[in-house]
């Protein structure tokens, strides 16, 4: 189950952070997302070590921490998508699929002429769409 998704701007500024847990662990998830930027930075700076080609936007498993697994995705504009999940066995294809849909939602959100690039994403439509994607991620992996 996905507990948190985040969009982080190219200056490592959080654009959108949403947790999907009932528990009051927002701070912890913030920390996890924040720390994952270290790994993203490292992968971006040493692309050959990460094993993926430059064109690959999906960064794969960034790191496992405590009970969570953190996945990353990097767009061409250096916007990062972070996914925190509690599922232990996650298929890469699922995550890729998730990120692709998430990316589409993000592109639609920032294409809004009233959105100021670099500002936090406040669109309610985007939030709804993201939660739909998050829910479907759970169901598709279950089913």
């Amino acid at each position: 189950m996905i507990v948190c998704v985040a969009v982080v701007g190219h200056q490592n500024n959080p654009l959108y952070i949403q947790s999907f847990t009932e528990a009051d662990d927002a701070l912890k998830l913030h920390h996890i997302v924040h720390c994952s930027l270290d790994v993203v930075d490292e992968r971006v700076n040493n692309p050959k070590k990460s094993g993926s080609t430059l064109n690959e936007t999906f960064l794969g498993l960034l790191y496992p921490t405590e009970n969570y697994k953190v996945y990353g995705y990097l767009t061409n504009t250096k916007v990062k998508f972070i996914l925190v999940t509690t599922d232990l066995d996650v298929r890469d294809a699922d995550v890729r699929n998730f990120f692709r849909r998430f990316h589409a939602a993000y592109v639609d959100a920032v294409s809004n002429p009233f959105h100021v690039p670099g500002k936090k994403i406040t669109s309610r439509t985007f939030a709804e769409r993201v939660s739909t994607i998050v829910k479907s991620f759970g169901s598709s992996s279950a089913g």
Binding site: G9, H34, V39, E42, V116
Partner: protein, 1294 residues
């Protein structure tokens, strides 16, 4: 667990360092640093202290390359339960440190040391180092011997040498002890236990097993000692034996220990050569170490003791070994697993150590955020301990995380990333932001994390009793995150701030600003009375070019230099207070009291005046900060110093600018100024401020009060402007000009008075008179109330800004500005100025020095070789207007102050660069606050024409040009008694026109109107024209009461041109003619201009003056109205008729004198006829004068008629009452241009009475000009010219 472990830790000998007696902390630290330099003792150095008692068990001791390593543990450590397992955990030696001056009794020192050593049972060597012994102690101590080692006082180097020797001795002793221990262990064996081993009694099988295990364990321990002794090869051998034995007995814990030791031996053997193969080897072996430690986990005693810490230590050791950026992934995996293991750790301090190590390692591989995360965990563990020391540690750890979370204190940033001098320069480039500040703005969005960190810092600082750190944290929290904090929370922070400041000494400074937010609002320009103008040394009118020129506010051509213009220069004057406006904002939910705020100036030439201010909740305020520049030079104002919440902080404008910029880009939570309701402000660019030496300062005082001068339209009044020099420097140059609207209302300014008062010394003053004439109020806004309510109109006029201003440019003398590279010495007592330097040629242009003109001109003499020149010369004061062009000697030498402009042709060729340092001048703007009230209002003007026949006079030749007192004959001459216009009966009114002005007086005062007509060319008007006097007395005053209107008649005459020629009619001809040719357009224009000029000329001669009350007088400006009235019939007013006719009596056969001189004006009515009765029944000889006013010959047919009162022709017809002699009709004559002819005839009146004589002419072959003048429509139409009627009164009896 132990901090700071690495693979090599196993080979390090631990030595406890204990202070014995009282050792001052500073000295203890000093001694410790001396010890720390002796951490590694090469084996080659200890051989002299080493004696081999028996054969060394360390067969492969590398005497040449090996070394012994020490770790000094200050204050010692309690024995570890695991010291059997890893011998390096034992404290193997004890060093006591004693400071002799504070412990005089050496015996007690020895006692203390011995008792201290007792708690270190494992220690093999004990030494007590006593520093700085006195002489007696030296003597005493040398007897004592034993473990007490005295260090005689010496310089640092000697002492270190001494210490090194001692340490080598210790190393040798340790080595020998190790040998002893190993030999004993090999022979006898030891019982080695760890807390892991079951405490319960063993059964027989286990006893057997334990024996086998014992061997493995002792081998492992011997290996440990070999490592400590610096012999890795021996160690390696023992470890492999131990491994085999341990594996057999499945003593995994010891197996892992032996493996670990083996790796350490391997590394030591290779002496730090890291090749990939070895790295692979180490990684492989260590993974096995970790696995075996994990295997050794026994469920039984898991509650009590666990090998987990060894597993984690091994993990950390491997991670440290691999810790490089390239292997980050591997290290992260290791650290992640180590972090996961933390949960199973029982001991909180173990967890603390683990997290510290993890954080450090993450930091090493560049994972700053991870490192920060773990640092925070550490801090939380510290905070759980609830004591002050732990809180201090927590605070320090948290302070390290602030960089990763971008909430660092300004103190830490200013040290490296932001050098202080940059502050001054960086604000200059206004909008540009520094990269790191941009990044920090972006990262500042992790507000959730940042606030938590800052809160924890605040908490730990409060607990640690560090009020400054608490203040700083609270300040950062409040300033950056106030929008996310509830008002209650904000209040809490505010009280935290004030609580912290209570514990701080007053005047404490903190690098982190709290509230309020301060931004630059504006630099008020100098009040117009103190305006500073740059002097252009190249020009006499140095102020020119300083004011914006051109009629446009925006010119596209100047756009190129907009960069410079936006960064305008500001000039401040030493000793003159200045002001800067700043805006403060308090966006928080409490009332903010700023105890003092003042400008922070780093350049040190400025005294700032503090003010205090109260900012209510959610408010902003613009305040004025002032100060006085104290010395010449540039001034930079990076921000404000604020004393608020008990601490002094510097608030930089640049920070707020960045913040606001971030707010516009949505990077920052909120704009503090906007949320306080302050309007958005454009970026105030920071000008370059320079301070110049004192300048003179003129203070104006306009005579007649500071209020407005109230004038009626057209009123003329004098006023006085008093100028006082309030500066400290005399005014030497001054220039007055006018600007603003309605400049022409200032008729005169007594510039000379001001000039004469120069130089105006400080404190002295001068009064200059100014004459004003009030302008006409605009006709577009006839405000009926204006006249009634003076106040209302006054207000309106201030708003209009329609008053003119007097602009006074003034300056002191400049200093002599020499070209670069020229030194000026002197003048000395004799006024000699020595100028030395290197130049090719330069020249000082004429210098204006007070009232003297002085010029110096010199060049390099040919006899002085090279570029070096040295010319001594005398400067003298030369009287007015003299110049000296050669070097010379002058007498009458006084103090030399020279203002000049000069430049060096050789240095740059650009004079402006050299001369730019002339001190600036000043501009004083004295607004003349003139309030013009509506005065007499003009209603309308029209032209009236009248025809009053003239009398035919007696032929009395009275040359008029002689008679200047001919007032009684002038038309409209005024008798002072009856004040009526009189018409000269002998002139008639032919061609006379009256301009009637209708004026009304809407004001509440009475106006007296007097009209005067000036004659343009009085010198020519020698013929009966009214001169100036006549004009003045000429017309009666007309009084117009309030709310009344009146008509004033102005006779128009004397305006006629002498000649009727074509030039005037060009326009009319063209207009009338069917073909308007293009080539005549120029002359047409010309003619039109001429016509306009004549009209203007005419109008300007009419002056309508008024007087009201005692001291109001002025002139009515009704030119436009008159022009409008005259426009239609201007030709008739201005132009003469082509022919003029005149009659006169010839009596007694006297020939009339020639009346009409060629220069006579256009006055056609030659009324020089003298008075005299014409008698009936008498032959009256008369003559008619016809004058040709054109430039062409006129042929005509003249006829004369005489009518009686009834208008009947009385010459012809049956009932003719007048007989005549001569020809009266059909007289064909030709008149040459500008000539006149006379035609004589005689009349015989039969009946007395009034008769009218009229001469008329039919012009033949009229030319275009005549036609135009006559306004004929067709060329065939005859032109008929009729003269004015003349009256003849015939007396006598019928």
């Amino acid at each position: 667990m132990e901090p700071d472990v690495s693979i090599e830790t196993s080979s390090v000998i631990r030595i406890a360092v204990l202070p014995i007696g009282t050792v001052p902390p500073g000295l203890l630290r000093e001694y410790q640093t001396m010890l720390l330099r002796q951490q590694t003792i090469p084996q080659s150095a200890i051989s002299s202290f080493y004696t081999e008692h028996q054969k060394s068990p360390f067969a492969h001791q590398p005497w040449d390359t090996g070394s012994l390593r020490f770790k000094f543990i200050l204050g010692g450590a309690p024995p570890s339960p695991w010291e059997d397992f890893q011998s390096n955990r034992k404290i193997l030696a004890v060093i006591g440190i004693c400071h002799c001056p504070s412990s005089p009794d050496l015996d007690s020192v020895i006692d203390q040391f011995n008792s201290a050593c007792k708690s270190y049972a494992s220690a093999l060597v004990h030494r007590c180092f006593a520093f700085c012994p006195g002489d007696s102690q030296l003597e005493d101590g040398s007897k004592k011997g034993g473990n007490l080692k005295l260090f005689p006082p010496a310089d640092t180097q000697t002492q270190e040498m001494h210490l090194q020797t001692m340490m080598q001795d210790i190393a040798a002793s340790l080595l020998m002890e190790f040998e002893k221990w190993v030999l004993k262990a090999e022979s006898a064996g030891t019982i080695l236990k760890t807390p892991l081993d079951s405490q319960a009694s063993l059964n027989s099988e286990e006893v057997l097993k334990a024996k086998k295990r014992r061997l493995a364990r002792s081998q492992k321990t011997i290996g440990d000692y070999c490592l400590l002794a610096g012999s890795p090869v021996d160690a390696s051998a023992h470890y492999s034996t131990s491994q085999e034995l341990a594996r057999l007995t499945s003593d995994y814990f010891w197996y892992a220990g032996a493996l670990e030791g083996g790796v350490c031996a391997l590394l030591l053997d290779r002496m730090g050569q890291k090749d990939p193969a070895m790295e692979e080897e180490v990684r492989y072996r260590y993974n096995s170490v970790i696995v075996h430690y994990r295997k050794s986990f026994i469920q039984d005693n898991a509650q009590r003791v666990s090998p987990l810490s060894f597993e984690l230590e091994a993990t950390l050791k491997l991670a440290r070994f691999l810790c490089r950026r390239e292997l980050a992934k591997e290290v992260v995996e290791l650290l992640t697993s180590a972090a996961d293991g933390a949960k199973s750790l029982i001991d909180a301090s173990d967890r603390l150590i683990l997290f510290v190590e993890i954080a450090r390692l993450y930091g090493t591989i560049g994972y700053q955020r991870k490192a920060a995360f773990f640092s925070r965990q550490i801090a939380q563990l510290y905070l759980q301990q609830e004591n002050r020391l732990a809180a201090i540690s927590a605070m320090q750890v948290l302070a390290m995380t602030t960089k990763a979370y971008r909430v660092q204190s300004r103190t830490s940033t200013s040290e490296h990333s932001l050098p202080n001098k940059q502050i001054g320069s960086s604000h200059v480039d206004g909008g540009k932001m520094h990269h790191h500040s941009v990044v920090s703005l972006f990262e500042s969005q992790w507000s959730t994390l940042q606030m938590v960190v800052l809160r924890e810092i605040l908490l730990s600082a409060v607990r640690a009793g560090d009020p400054l750190a608490a203040w700083s944290a609270a300040a950062r929290l409040l300033r950056s995150y106030y929008p996310l904090i509830t008002p209650a929370g904000q209040n809490g922070l505010a009280s935290a701030l004030s609580n912290s400041s209570d514990r701080l000494p007053s005047g404490t400074r903190c690098a982190d600003p709290a509230l309020p937010f301060i931004r630059l609002y504006s630099f008020p320009l100098h009040p117009s009375q103190m305006d500073i103008v740059k002097r252009n040394p190249e020009r006499e009118d140095w102020w020119a070019g300083s004011a914006p020129s051109g009629p446009f506010i925006y010119t596209p051509f100047s756009k190129g230099e907009s960069n410079e213009s936006s960064k305008q220069d500001l000039i401040w004057v030493v000793g003159e207070p200045i002001q800067v406006l700043v805006e403060l904002a308090n966006p928080c939910g409490f009332d903010l009291r700023v105890d003092s705020i003042y400008l922070s100036v780093h350049s040190g030439n400025f005294d700032a005046f503090p003010v205090s201010v109260n900012l209510p909740t959610n408010s902003s305020k613009v305040i004025t900060l002032s100060g006085i520049p104290t010395s010449v030079g540039p001034v930079t104002i990076p921000g404000c110093m604020v004393h608020c919440f008990g601490v002094v902080t510097e608030h930089l404008f640049k920070d707020v600018d960045n913040l606001l910029l971030g707010a516009t880009q949505g990077l920052v939570l909120s704009d503090p100024f906007r949320c306080c309701g302050s309007a958005k402000l454009r970026n105030v660019s920071f000008p370059n401020i320079s301070v110049v030496p004192p300048l003179p300062l003129l203070v104006p005082h306009v005579g007649g009060g500071d209020g407005a001068i109230i004038l009626y339209e057209g009123e003329i009044r004098d006023l006085w402007i008093n100028l006082a020099n309030a500066g400290t420097v005399p005014v030497e140059q001054v220039h007055i000009s006018l600007s603003g609207k309605n400049q022409d209302c200032v008729i005169s300014v007594a510039y000379e008075t001001l000039k004469a008062a120069l130089p105006l010394k400080p404190g002295s003053e001068v009064t200059i008179p100014v004459t004003l004439k009030a302008w006409q109020l605009g006709l577009v806004d006839p405000d009926p109330a204006a006249g009634k309510s003076a106040f209302g109109s006054m207000m309106r006029h201030f708003k209009d800004g329609s008053s003119p201003t007097v602009v006074i440019h003034y300056a002191a003398l400049g200093s002599l500005n020499w070209p670069n590279g020229v030194d000026v010495v002197g003048p000395d007592d004799h006024g000699v100025v020595e100028i030395t330097g290197q130049w090719d040629y330069f020249m000082l242009d004429p210098i204006r020095f007070m009232k003297h003109v002085l010029a110096i001109r010199f060049g390099r003499r040919s006899d002085e070789g090279g570029g070096e020149g040295r010319i001594g010369f005398v400067l003298g004061l030369v009287e007015e207007e003299a110049t000296m062009n050669t070097l010379g000697y002058f007498h009458k030498i006084s103090t030399i102050i020279i203002w000049c402009r000069s430049w060096s042709l050789s240095s740059s060729g650009d004079p402006s660069t050299v001369g730019s340092s002339v001190p600036p001048g000043r501009r004083l703007v004295v607004p003349l606050q003139i309030c013009v009230l509506q005065g007499l209002s003009f209603v309308k003007a029209r032209l009236l024409s009248m025809e009053i026949p003239a009398h035919v006079g007696e032929n009395l030749p009275k040359p008029v040009h002689v008679d200047s007192q001919s007032t009684e004959r002038a038309i409209g001459s005024e008798s002072k008694l009856d004040r009526l216009v009189k018409i000269d009966p002998f002139r008639g009114s032919w061609g006379l026109r009256f301009l009637e002005l209708e004026l009304s007086n809407p004001t509440d005062v009475v106006f007296d109107i007097s009209v005067s007509v000036q004659l343009e060319n009085l010198s020519n008007a020698d013929n009966d024209s009214a001169d100036q006097d006549a004009v003045e007395y000429g017309y009666p005053k007309t009084r117009i009461d309030r709310d009344c209107s009146a008509r004033v008649l102005i006779p128009l005459e004397h305006f006629k041109l002498p000649i009727l020629d074509g030039s005037f009619f060009m326009k009319d001809i063209q207009a009338d003619g069917p073909t308007g040719s293009r080539n005549s357009s120029f002359s047409e224009k010309n003619a039109k201009a001429e016509l306009n000029a004549s009209i203007k000329n005419l109008i300007s001669r009419i002056k309508v003056r008024w007087q009201s009350g005692r001291n109001s007088s002025g002139e009515l400006n009704i030119k436009d109205a008159i022009q409008a009235a005259l426009q239609a019939s201007v030709m008739d007013v201005l132009l003469p008729d082509p022919l003029t006719f005149g009659f006169r009596l010839l009596r007694n056969g006297l020939e009339p004198a020639k009346l009409d001189s060629p220069n006579e004006l256009n006055s056609s009515v030659q009324s020089s006829a003298s008075k005299g009765p014409v008698l009936a029944h008498d032959m009256t000889p008369m003559e008619v004068l016809v004058r040709n006013n054109t430039k062409d010959l006129i042929k005509m047919n003249l006829s004369i008629t005489c009518r009686d009162v009834a208008g009947e022709n009385c010459v012809e017809g049956a009932k003719a009452t007048v007989l005549w002699a001569g020809i009266l009709s059909g007289i064909t004559i030709e008149i040459p241009p500008l000539q006149e002819i006379k035609h004589s005839f005689s009349l015989y009146f039969l009946v007395p009475g009034e008769y009218t004589l009229v001469a008329a002419a039919l012009i033949d072959d009229a030319n275009d000009i005549l036609r135009a003048r006559a306004r004929t429509h067709s060329p065939d139409e005859p032109i008929f010219c009729c003269g004015p009627p003349y009256n003849v009164r015939v007396i006598g009896t019928a």
